[in-house]
């Protein structure tokens, strides 16, 4: 199954993403007001969705770790935070570039972009913390706490920034989208989601291998312990 996931999923996701982008860039009509610039949507929105999916997985894994400690959950949390950070950063950059022709500036303190920037800093802190704690069990517990608190913070940040900005400018409302646009967006989103999944699986395997190397049974012990290693009542399975 390893080979299939590794290359089959990658090929599938690249094909779907390429199709979606082709639909978006060549097939779908330009937007009535934004013109061709609107075609940024087919890369920006899928990135944001995929980043959210990754961050949500991170949150679920962190909460689950609090209830049942396991290296698999820890590895899931680590991989999803890192993948989410990469996708979210790309999403923020494309959003800022999109802002230039539409708003006239790269950064307009739009609540969504601002919340996202804060979120990215928070998850950078999460990954830095993981680097700075040696003990695997402590690292897993502490980073779960940080991930949970960071996720709880998101809606609060969003509301406060929106409130803060709303005193200055009226929030623009999302507009209706042509059916061709919807299709191109959907296909691109699925392609991005598959790529995300591929990244997640690859990173998860790495993280799990790292954890297992960290907690591997030392060679100096008698073999009976090594044999019992899998069956012992370890706190962290």
């Amino acid at each position: 199954m390893g080979k299939f996931i590794k290359w089959g999923l990658l090929a599938l996701s690249l094909a779907v993403l390429a199709t979606g982008w082709w639909l978006g860039l060549a097939w779908a009509p330009p937007d009535r007001e934004m013109g061709d610039v609107q075609r940024i949507m087919y890369v920006h929105v899928p990135l944001q969705w995929a980043a959210l999916v990754a961050m949500f997985i991170n949150f679920v894994a962190a909460v689950s770790y609090m209830f049942k400690a396991s290296w698999k959950l820890d590895a899931t949390a680590e991989s999803s935070a890192e993948v989410g950070l990469v996708l979210g950063t790309a999403g923020m950059i494309t959003g800022a570039i999109w802002g230039r022709p539409t708003w006239g500036v790269y950064w307009s303190w739009d609540p969504r972009l601002t919340s996202q920037a804060i979120m990215l800093v928070a998850y950078t802190g999460y990954l830095v913390l993981r680097r700075f704690v040696e003990d695997p069990e402590k690292r897993a517990t502490w980073s779960s706490v940080v991930a949970i608190i960071g996720a709880i913070n998101l809606p609060i940040v969003w509301f406060s920034v929106r409130w803060w900005r709303s005193l200055h400018q009226v929030q623009s409302t999302p507009k209706t989208v042509d059916p061709e646009m919807t299709l191109a967006l959907r296909v691109s989103a699925f392609g991005m989601l598959f790529i995300t999944l591929w990244f997640l699986v690859a990173r998860y395997r790495q993280a799990l291998a790292e954890r297992q190397a960290e907690v591997a049974l030392p060679d100096a012990l008698p073999s009976d312990l090594a044999a019992a290693g899998g069956a012992n009542s370890s706190r962290v399975a």
């Binding site: 013109g35 940024i40 929105v45 959210l52 950063t89 790309a90 950059i93 539409t102």
Partner: protein, 63 residues
């Protein structure tokens, strides 16, 4: 949890910025290509970093 997820989705997912002012923006393909190029570059770079950091010793065949 579902509420939070929906909220999160609403928070960033629909982050398609609306337009300001009126009149159709002409051209702007440079911005479009920049976005796609940056995204592709970041995804490729991340894939390369995954390759570089790949586990050195293969895990046990049993697992």
């Amino acid at each position: 949890m579902m509420t939070l997820s929906t909220q999160l989705l609403g928070l960033l997912a629909a982050a398609a910025p609306g337009q300001v002012g009126s009149g159709r923006i002409v051209g702007g393909w440079g911005y479009v290509w920049a976005c796609y190029a940056i995204t592709v570059a970041m995804l490729v770079l991340y894939a390369v970093s995954l390759w570089v950091r790949r586990p050195k010793a293969p895990t046990d065949a049993k697992e």
